[in-house]
Each structure stands twice: as C-alpha cells, then as structure tokens.
C-alpha cells in the first residue's frame, strides 16, 4: 500500500470521455479565512480540471470548501478575510492567480461566467432585467444601448422566458424564482463563455422548476460545447447531469471519478456514507445508514485523514497520516488509505 504522504495534494483525474481541450486546471489550490477566533482552512490543496463540453460536479456538504473553491477560481473571493495561500488556476493554460486584475476582469464574464444560488440577490433590484442583460454587451462588446436591448430579448428567448419582448423592461422582483434563475443563466451565457461555474443553481427552486432549469443548462452546454462546473450537495442532481464527480470534504477532494463508477462502487468511505444515508425515491429502505458525528470545524481539522473521527473503517494510520491521492484506475482516485477495502466491500 503506497503510504507516501509526501504530497498531500489531491486526487486529480482526467475524464475518460473528455475529448475537448482542457479549459480549466485547478492545481493544489489553498484558501484560508482569518477570523477573530483563528484561521479557518477552507480549501487545503484542491485539484481538478474540466474540459470543453464536459460537466464536472463538485459535491460537498456545507463547509466542505466547494463554494470557496469556485469563488477563488472566479476571482470573487472576499479578500480579506479570505486569502489564497497557494496553488494555480490555469485557464486555457494561463494562471489566473498571477494575472493583473483588469486582465482577469476581461476573462470574467466573457470567457468564464458564474451562476449563483440566489438569483434575486444577484440581480440589481432597481434595474430592468433587459438592461442588466444588455449591460454585458455594452461593457464587453461596446454595443449601443439599442442593439444591446435587442440581444437581451434574444437571450431571454434563448432561455425560454415566455413573452420576452414584453418582459424585457420588467424588474427582477416581477419574475418567479425559476424565471429569475433563467435570467441569471442568460446573463452567464450572454458572451458565450467557454466555461460556466454554477454554484447550487437549483437549490432554491422547487422540484418541477429545478428539472426545467437543469434541463436548460444541460441543453445549452451541449449546444455551445461549454465546460460546466456544477457545485452542489445534491447526489440526485449530480447523477442526472454530471460526467465526472469530485467529492469534497473538509477542504480536500476525497474522491474523484467518472459518475457511473462512483455511484456503482465508491472508493472512499465518505462517499459511500453519503450514498447510503440518502433515502431513495425508487426504493423504500429501512433505517438510513447515517454518517455519525458532524463535519469538522475548519479551524480545527482533525490530524491525519480529516474524515477519520466519523469513519467506520478508520485505523491507527488514519489518525496520523494524511492519505495521499491514490490512483484507483486511470480515471479515478481516492484519498483513503484503505480505498481497496472500501471499493470491494
């Protein structure tokens, strides 16, 4: 068993089906937050990559660092209290973290865009949605107001907002939650970026509306051959749309695998615990297999494997040694000392 913990960086795997060019390559990213009570280590060496035309799901519970990773990648992290302490974020081969701010700003929106969970607070309440959409074209493309408005109507049509021409002058609060999320998607799509990062895009929506929005996202991704990074906590949504999954726990990627492999046979006890703990619509279970305990405090991450206090398979080595990324096969990896046992159990 390879126990070389020299590089505690994370599992990084390329998808088997990825045919597109490498869009984004996050390498050993580290982020911390300085608070009154101490330093919270939110992201501790995260690596993942996404190719054109591919959907990568970053799965994690609250506090796992999944959203912070996205913010650091987009360059919208609140600094301070946040601080990027290491790593690289290569977008089409260029490190975003070493770019000048105005250069980064040109990439943001035009080449990579972000969709947030809460569309209402992400839209300006006193500006008509058409103007907010058009703004993208005015700022980045230097269009006239009139042309920009026409493009806004086109975009609203594109994300299937009914009666787009009549509603282009409406304000965000006049739209329903699902429609607002469509407007957010339209905004992200406006400049036809190569990559979209969606942070819990459907969590605030009802099931039927969630299905509409996820469908739209998947369709647009196919059409524009975009890379999509989907940040979520919902194992169901992931199974529906993702090509690959990176599971995060306590600021690290504990398992990374093509979606089918991961659901069929998880190679990390945390992933397995998550899959066993959710009730299934398609089969009625008995008692749920809850993962005991709580996610760790980011100011006081347990030594060794961060999951060991909650892990049913933990042994002595887990309390002392940080598990390095073990390649499970050429497409997947697991940061568990005993990934073999987990895989075959």
């Amino acid at each position: 068993m390879p126990l070389d913990a020299g590089d505690a960086g994370d599992v990084q795997v390329t998808g088997p089906r990825s045919r597109g060019e490498r869009l984004l390559d996050v390498r050993d990213l580290r982020v911390e937050f300085r608070t009154r009570d101490g330093v919270a280590r939110a992201v501790n060496g995260v690596s993942w990559a996404v190719d054109a035309g591919e959907t990568l799901a970053v799965l994690g519970e609250s506090g796992s660092g999944k959203s912070v990773t996205a913010q650091a990648v987009m360059g919208i992290l609140d600094v301070p209290p946040g601080r990027i302490t290491g790593g690289e974020v290569l977008f089409k081969g260029r490190d975003l973290l070493r770019m000048k701010e105005d250069e980064r700003r040109r990439i943001r929106g035009a080449e990579m865009a972000m969709i947030f969970q809460d569309a209402l607070s992400s839209l300006n309440p006193v500006v008509p949605v058409g103007d907010q959409l058009g703004e993208m074209f005015v700022v980045h493309r230097g269009m006239s107001r009139k042309d920009a408005r026409a493009r806004a109507v086109e975009l609203m049509d594109r994300v299937r907002i009914p009666a787009a021409r009549q509603r282009v002058g409406d304000y965000p609060h006049q739209f329903s939650g699902g429609m607002r999320q469509r407007i957010m998607i339209a905004m992200a799509l406006a400049l036809e970026p190569a990559l979209i990062i969606a942070d819990e895009p459907t969590t605030a929506l009802d099931v039927t509306v969630q299905a509409q929005v996820m469908d739209l996202l998947a369709e647009l991704r196919r059409e524009y051959r975009m890379g999509l990074v989907l940040i979520t906590h919902d194992l169901g949504v992931v199974a529906d749309v993702a090509d690959r999954i990176a599971v995060m726990y306590a600021g690290r990627i504990v398992e990374s695998a093509p979606v089918h492999d991961l659901y069929r046979a998880p190679a990390h006890p945390y992933t397995r615990g998550l899959l066993d703990s959710i009730p299934r619509l398609d089969r009625k279970g008995h008692a749920l297999h809850a993962i005991k305990g709580l996610p760790p405090n980011l100011m006081d991450i347990p030594p060794g494997c961060a999951f060991h206090p909650r892990c049913p398979a933990a042994r002595d080595v887990c309390r002392t040694d940080v598990p390095p990324p073990h390649p499970v096969d050429e497409h997947r990896g697991s940061a568990c000392h005993f990934w073999r046992e987990c895989l075959h159990d």
């Binding site: 069929r264 297999h289 760790p296 909650r310 049913p312 159990d345």
Partner: protein, 317 residues
C-alpha cells in the same frame, strides 16, 4: 483490477449501531470555547467592546463625567455661584485655571458643576424616552391592528415638529427654574424615535420561529413578550438611546442658550455659553471651556452608541 461488487456494503458495526452518536472529539464545529461557559450575544459583545479603543475612550470620559456630576466638590474648591465682578473676563490665574466669565464667576468651577445638569437632563430624558417609546412601540408592533396604525400616524406627526421651534413655543410658557419642564419636553418629542425602532425590532423578533414555537406550546402573550421578544428586540433600542442621550445634552444646551431651557441660578453649559457669547472677543476662554465640555460629552455618548452598535451586530464579526 479486481471486480467490483456494486451492491457491496461496508461491514462496520460503527456505521449502523451508532446513528445517534455524539460528535466525536475534535469534530464539533460550533462548540467553541469548550469551557462550557455560556456565551451569549451580550457576552460576545462585551468581549468585543473590551478590546475596542473607541469604547474604552468614550466610557472613560463618561465615567469621569458621572463622577463629577455626583461629587463636583471633589475636584473643585469653590461654589459655582460665588462671583466677583472685579474679576470679570479675567484670564487664567492661580487657583482659577480656566479664568473668569463676564460676571466674574470661576469658569472651571462652573464647567464642572454644569456637567451635573447636563448629565441629569440627558439621563432622565433618555430614560423617559426609552421607557415610553419602547412600551408604546413594542406593544404596537406586537399586537398590530388599529392601535398600531393610529400610533404610527401619531409618530409621523411628532416627527414633523421641528424640535427647536417646538421648544421655543412650548417652553416659553413655563416658569420656574427646575429641570423638569425641559426633560418633559424632550420626552414628549423624543419618544416617537424610540417607538419606531422598538416597533420595528419587535416585528422582526415576532416573526422568528421560536415565538411561534412558544405560542404553539400555549404561552401567554405576556410571556412571549417578556421572555422571547423583549430580550431579542432590546439591542437596537439601547444603541439608539445611547446616541440620543448625547443629542439631548446638546438640545438642553441649545434651549438654554436660546433662553427657554434652564434658567439661572441653575448652572448649565448652555446658560454659560449663552452668557459668554457677547464677550467672545474679550474673553474667548469663557465660551471655549463649556463648549468644549459639551462637545466632548456629546461626542463620547455618540461614540459609545456606535461602539455598542458594532458590538451587537453579529454580521460584523
């Protein structure tokens, strides 16, 4: 690559046997301190305040102010009413560090004694405003309905009254030399401000689920108000009242300056500022010291209010 067993299960007793397990050591996220010493909004706020230089400076000033209002003779050696026209407008000299005013009274002694009036007016007016305003506003916010609508309109009316003009009109008809008419006037015009704040914060607190939970248990309205709403709604009232205290002291000085507030022989900064202004060219010190004391006092209360507001706002942590 060995074969995978899709339906495999982890054979581990811990997973199923302990679904209700407590958080393992080292893991519990929010249990900070671990001393078991209860932490509340107030104790957190106090921890913040103790380290805030603005709070420390302002409370030192206020403590000193309270001290000299209670025992002005501790740092003075004369009566504030002992005046000698022979010394009128004289500058500072031995035993008279601030010099004399136009009537030949000792500016230092009068400035120290003036603190008592200012503090009395400020504290009593604030207490009256806070009690009246939070009771009326709190009840209106809690019960809502027609009473709330009427009260809201009344507060609108009071907000429309210019304070100084109202003081000139109302206070010019009262006679006597006590502080009570001035305090009464401030309470009359000040309560709507607190009432509005209290109403808002009660309405916010009322919407919390814990209030619903208490109601679902069958708790009475008075229990809900006193035990669940008041403790959670009082913070903004305290902040606004602290800041208001400073403004009431300034208002007392303004009214006294205009001649409708306090009247001699009461010793007050406003009266002294008013009396000194005609000779400002000859004896600027007689104006400077009481005005300085007034400005410093008002500033101290406003700074204190600001510091408390910051400390009580969990979002700033």
């Amino acid at each position: 690559m060995p074969e995978l067993e899709p339906e495999g299960e982890i054979v581990a007793p811990g997973l199923t046997a302990l679904p209700l397990d407590q958080a393992p050591p080292g893991a519990p996220a929010p249990v900070a301190g671990t001393t078991g010493r209860p932490r509340s909004l107030w104790s957190d706020a106090w921890r913040d305040l103790r380290r805030n230089p603005v709070f420390l400076a302002s409370s030192l000033i206020i403590l000193f102010l309270l001290f000299i209002s209670l025992w002005p003779s501790a740092i003075t050696w004369e009566s504030p009413l002992k005046c000698d026209l022979a010394h009128a407008q004289e500058g500072s000299g031995p035993g008279h560090p601030f010099g004399y005013d136009g009537q030949g009274c000792d500016v230092y002694t009068r400035t120290v004694y003036g603190a008592r009036t200012s503090v009395t007016v400020g504290v009593l007016a604030t207490l009256g405003v806070a009690v009246l305003g939070s009771v009326l506003g709190g009840l209106a916010g809690f019960f809502g309905g027609a009473g709330d609508a009427v009260l809201s309109r009344i507060t609108d009316v009071f907000f429309a009254i210019p304070v100084v003009l109202g003081g000139l009109v109302l206070l010019s008809v009262v006679t006597g030399d006590t502080v009570w008419p001035v305090i009464g006037f401030m309470v009359l015009l000040g309560w709507p401000q607190i009432s509005r704040i209290a109403r808002g914060s009660v309405i916010t607190a009322k919407q919390h689920d814990y209030v619903q939970a208490a109601r679902a248990l069958g708790a009475s309205s008075s229990r809900i108000l006193l035990r669940h709403i008041a403790p959670n709604a009082v913070a903004p009232v305290i902040v606004v009242a602290t800041i208001a205290l400073g403004t009431y002291i300034a208002l007392e000085a303004t009214l006294s300056y205009l001649g409708v507030g306090l009247k001699p022989p009461t010793v007050s900064w406003g009266i002294d500022i008013s009396a000194a202004s005609p000779y400002v060219r000859n004896a600027p010190h007689a104006l400077l010291w009481p005005s300085g004391a007034l400005a410093l006092t008002v500033l101290a209360f406003i700074m204190l209010g600001d510091a408390i507001r910051d400390a009580l706002d969990p979002k700033l942590r």
